[in-house]
């Protein structure tokens, strides 16, 4: 039977194990397909220094009789994603879209959205398996006059592209790529939908313009909020503490350096000659020895010596955080609110991998009329006048919980929220410290959106489908600190609003209570006092204590001038509906138009 042993192609393997790649259910398959295509487009544009302009169109596929069922009933869709990226040379197109494990990003230690060169070709393969339809690609590079059109499928037995059609066509774009995949899927709105994914993508990538044509034919545009591309991340060498023994041995065998010392200093980051000498001494290895000649035991000693040595943290220009301005811009143009704040933490390291955490918070309803104004009007109008029975005032309806947007390398994570380190950090933050209601171990309450971004050369996902970030202490700590930084700013703002609200209430409360108190005193004294005079006297004291001007000053501070020094960096909606604070002009315009 040994003769039956045979090689298995990676395509065959994944075709049978498609859940490993996020194609577990028709609903998830639709989302994964859009996600892989959009991620690729964004990566390609950014690498080429182009501001991304992306169109996503999802159509119901026609049935055998040519009619199209309603989107909510349909089980077959055509997904089209088009970008204005640099385009892909004709010679590469087949492999990029119809060969698994082919990509540009796997072998580099550098931050990017896709990593494994498996996503878009897996989507194409899924479409092919479920509908039999090849995937269609149009791509044009700037220095060629015409675009190339391909129809491709994968020969799963060989993991090789099969080209069904290939032609040059005229295209109305100077450069870019368009991919069309037909697949068995299911379309739903709401949580974990394509709609949500694109909204979050727009927030996380305010430099991108995204147009989304939904299966029902509506067009939603997410305009650009900033004009600058994120700084391009640089590739780095591995950090000595982020390497396992086996990988170390492999690197020692594969290296192009000659001596042990040069191996250590050249193939790793943060190893100076001095440190290399130290390591060699600890390991009892001659630093000038030929690295290829070392025995396994010597390499192991070297490895152990590294483990007990201190190194600088890895360089962090391999990371490209979104940045505080852009985060605020992303939120401002998409999430209406009264207060925005963002923080980008300095880079940190887990297991030798540099990473960086960013958090942004939008708070309030931003409905044009501030809650403060409403309080004032309500107080002045004397409430709705309806007396409440016992038990009625406790009926506040279900509490609104904060929404959490999780991002890894600018890509929204939509599944497995509760397993994610970032989400847990939100739960374990004590939001009551910041004046926000929170049940024990639950999300904070209120009209609040919390965005958390982890940028890293290697994001440690808990599972195959890149859905949740694993709980490394270092990561949790950074997330928590970022949440705290934003929380403290938010608390300042909330306290100011509360203070102003209190001032307003004081004014009205005392006036109302004075009526009651004066009347009760008069009755207690059997009517033997001048009730009107008592009222007047008390009102005078009230006026003095609640100080009309002081109140006005506080109210102004909270709602008119917007941002003063203790709120530096935050964006605040003033009572006239304007956004005060640092914000890219474009985002401000987009928000004003919305």
């Amino acid at each position: 039977m040994a003769a039956q042993h045979r090689e298995i192609s990676v395509s065959e393997f994944f075709a049978k194990n498609r859940h490993l790649l996020g194609f577990d259910s028709p609903r998830k398959a639709l989302l994964t397909t859009v996600k892989e295509a959009v991620d690729n487009s964004l990566d390609a544009c950014e690498e080429a220094g182009i501001l991304p302009d992306i169109t996503v169109k999802i159509e119901v596929a026609p049935g055998p009789d040519g009619t199209r069922p309603a989107p909510s009933q349909a089980d077959r869709f055509i997904v089209m994603v088009r970008d204005n990226g640099p385009g892909i040379p004709a010679s590469k197109i087949g492999n990029v879209f119809a060969k698994l494990l082919y990509g540009s990003k796997f072998h580099r230690l550098k931050m990017s959205r896709g990593q494994q060169g498996i996503g878009i070709s897996a989507a194409a393969m899924y479409g092919q398996i479920t509908t039999g339809r090849p995937c269609r690609v149009i791509s044009k590079v700037a220095d060629e006059p015409r675009a190339h059109l391909f129809e491709l499928s994968i020969d799963t037995a060989k993991n090789q592209p099969v080209v069904h059609e290939k032609q040059q066509i005229d295209w109305d774009q100077p450069h870019g790529t368009e991919v069309v995949i037909e697949l068995v899927g299911r379309y739903m709105r709401g949580r974990q939908s394509v709609d949500e994914y694109l909204e979050y993508t727009a927030i996380a990538n305010p430099h991108a313009r995204i147009v989304y044509v939904t299966p029902t034919g509506e067009t939603r545009e997410f305009p650009r909020g900033v004009e600058e591309l994120p700084a391009p991340p640089r590739e780095i060498k591995p950090h000595p503490l982020g390497i396992e023994l086996g990988m170390f041995l492999k690197m020692a065998r594969d290296t192009s350096t000659r001596t042990v010392s040069s191996f250590l200093t050249n193939d790793f980051c943060r190893v100076s000659s001095r440190l290399a000498a130290q390591i060699c001494e600890k390991a009892g290895v001659n630093p000038n020895a030929r690295i290829r000649k070392l025995k396994n035991e010597q390499l192991e000693s070297l490895y152990r010596a590294i483990q007990s040595t201190k190194f600088m943290a890895p360089p962090t220009d391999c990371l490209s955080p979104i940045g505080e301005e852009a985060l605020k811009a992303g939120l401002v143009k998409t999430v209406p609110a009264d207060f925005y704040v963002a923080t980008t933490r300095p880079p940190a390291v887990y297991r030798g991998n540099p990473f960086q955490i960013e958090v942004a918070i939008a708070y309030g309803t931003g409905d044009g009329k501030s809650s403060l104004q409403r309080v004032a009007e309500e107080l002045e109008s004397g409430g709705n006048g309806e007396a409440k029975a016992e038990g009625e005032h406790k009926d506040d309806g279900p509490t609104e919980l904060a929404r959490v947007i999780r991002l890894a390398n600018r890509v929204p994570l939509v599944y497995q929220q509760s397993a994610c380190a970032t989400f847990k950090a939100v739960l374990h933050t004590n939001w009551r410290n910041y004046g926000i209601a929170q049940s024990k171990g639950a999300l904070p309450q209120g009209p609040m959106t919390i965005l958390i971004h982890m940028a890293s050369v290697w994001v440690p996902f808990t599972n195959e489908a890149k859905e949740a970030i694993a709980e490394y202490d270092e990561i949790v700590r950074e997330v928590r600190r970022a949440l705290q930084e934003c929380g403290r700013k938010l608390a300042v703002w909330i306290r100011k609003r509360q203070q102003a609200k209190n001032e307003l209430q004081r004014r009205f409360t005392f006036a109302r209570y004075i009526e009651e108190v004066a009347a009760a005193c008069c009755r207690l004294k059997d009517g033997r006092i001048n009730q009107e005079r008592l009222k007047r006297q008390l009102l005078q004291i009230a006026e003095r204590i609640t100080g009309g001007e002081e109140t006005d000053r506080i109210l102004n501070r909270a709602t008119k001038t917007g941002v003063d020094e203790d709120l530096a960096g935050a964006v605040v909606r003033t009572d006239d509906g304007e956004l005060a604070g640092d914000l890219p002009e474009l985002a401000r315009q987009v928000a004003a138009k919305a």
Binding site: G382, A520, C522, R523, L524, I545
Partner: protein
């Protein structure tokens, strides 16, 4: 320390004066252009202590200021005056009412708002307690009555509500004990009894009343059907103070029974300021003792296993200053050791009338009680 024991009841006029005093504070402060405030003794465990000499729980001296022009206090300040006003009506027209009725009476919507003066009864209850301690008045003096669920039989004659009542002629069921038993409301005319037997549960009261125990042993039987209400406790205290009758307490053998005895004797922690008028430091614990089941041959199977909360409770009691006496420690520890509690009803296992014919006579004869 709290003021000395005061047995004379304040007159309606005096109480009304004190209530009016609150208005005077407001008027005076308003005249001077100052923020008016009341000084209210703190009612919290932190301001309570056991007076070893007087053997009662007493309230300390800590006070809090409640001022009007303070956003956090304004509502309560207003409520204080509303309640004071309502209480004054009771004095002026000389009738009693309940806590709940005061709540309803003082509840209304504040003009020009949708805010109620009171949202829940607990708010007005708190204010009434504040006024009690602030003005050193008893709830009875404020004409606020509690539930009435006690009964009395035995050789005592009193006038209540204008009627002369001879409690030897009240049938088996006895006379309902009113909630307010202060002189004026209830005037004791004649007492020939030798002692007071305060029984936790109505069922034993019925047993003893039916068997005319009070006649044979010349005592007054009192019950409160559970934790005795204020009227019952206060009446026992008056019989003790004014007629020198010893008070014996008969409760189930469980932590709750011990607690009832403790409240009768030393007063309660919550209402420490009333101890001086309610507590009976000389009251004796007659039973059921945790040693009684053995002494009287009750089988294990009429015991009840202590629940975890019983055990927690008993351990708490062991730490109370007034249970530090050796005998009490022995008593409570024995319950914990056996792991069982016993109801008085369990004595019926011996005989339906064992309580009347054997248990109590033996206890009284042998002076088998705990102080």
């Amino acid at each position: 320390m709290a003021t000395a024991t005061r047995t004379r009841r304040k007159t309606n006029r005096e109480v009304a004066r004190l209530l009016e005093g609150l208005a005077d504070i407001v008027i005076e402060a308003a005249r001077k252009g100052e923020d008016p405030y009341f000084e209210i003794p703190v009612r919290a465990l932190s301001n309570v202590s056991f007076n070893k000499k007087r053997r009662i729980i007493e309230m300390g001296e800590n006070k809090t200021q409640r001022s009007f022009f303070n956003l956090g206090m304004a509502r309560k300040f207003m409520q204080t005056l509303l309640v004071a006003d309502a209480l004054k009506v009771l004095q002026r027209e000389n009738f009693t009412t309940s806590l709940r009725e005061i709540y309803y009476r003082t509840k209304h919507t504040i003009a020009g708002t949708n805010e109620n003066t009171f949202d829940e009864q607990s708010e007005s209850d708190t204010i009434i307690e504040d006024l009690e301690v602030t003005l050193s008045l008893l709830r009875e003096e404020l004409n606020v009555r509690a539930a009435e669920s006690g009964s009395i039989v035995g050789p005592i004659v009193f006038v209540e509500g204008g009627d002369r009542i001879d409690c030897t002629r009240q049938g088996k069921a006895g006379k309902t004990v009113p909630s307010i038993v202060e002189p004026g409301e209830l005037d004791i005319k004649k007492v020939t009894a030798d002692f007071v037997l305060l029984v936790e549960k109505g069922t034993q009261f019925n047993r003893l009343s039916e068997d005319k125990f009070w006649k044979k042993h010349n005592c007054i039987l009192l019950t409160g059907n559970g934790q005795p209400p204020r009227g019952v406790r206060r009446l026992a205290r008056r019989l003790h103070d004014e007629f020198g009758l010893p008070v014996y307490v008969l409760v189930d053998n469980d932590p709750w029974g011990y607690y009832i005895y403790s409240v009768v004797k030393q007063g309660s922690i919550n209402l420490a300021f009333e101890s001086q008028r309610m507590a009976i430091p000389d009251a004796k614990f007659l039973g059921l003792s945790s040693f009684d089941p053995e002494k009287h041959g009750l089988p294990r199977n009429v015991g009840i296993k202590l629940t975890p909360s019983d055990i927690r409770r008993a351990k708490e009691l062991l730490r109370y200053p007034w249970f530090q006496k050796k005998q009490w420690q022995k008593e409570i520890r024995h319950m914990l050791e056996t792991g069982l509690k016993y109801e008085l009803d369990a004595l019926a296992n011996k005989d339906f009338r064992y309580l009347t014919t054997d248990y109590l006579p033996k206890k009284l004869k042998e002076q088998d009680w705990i102080d």
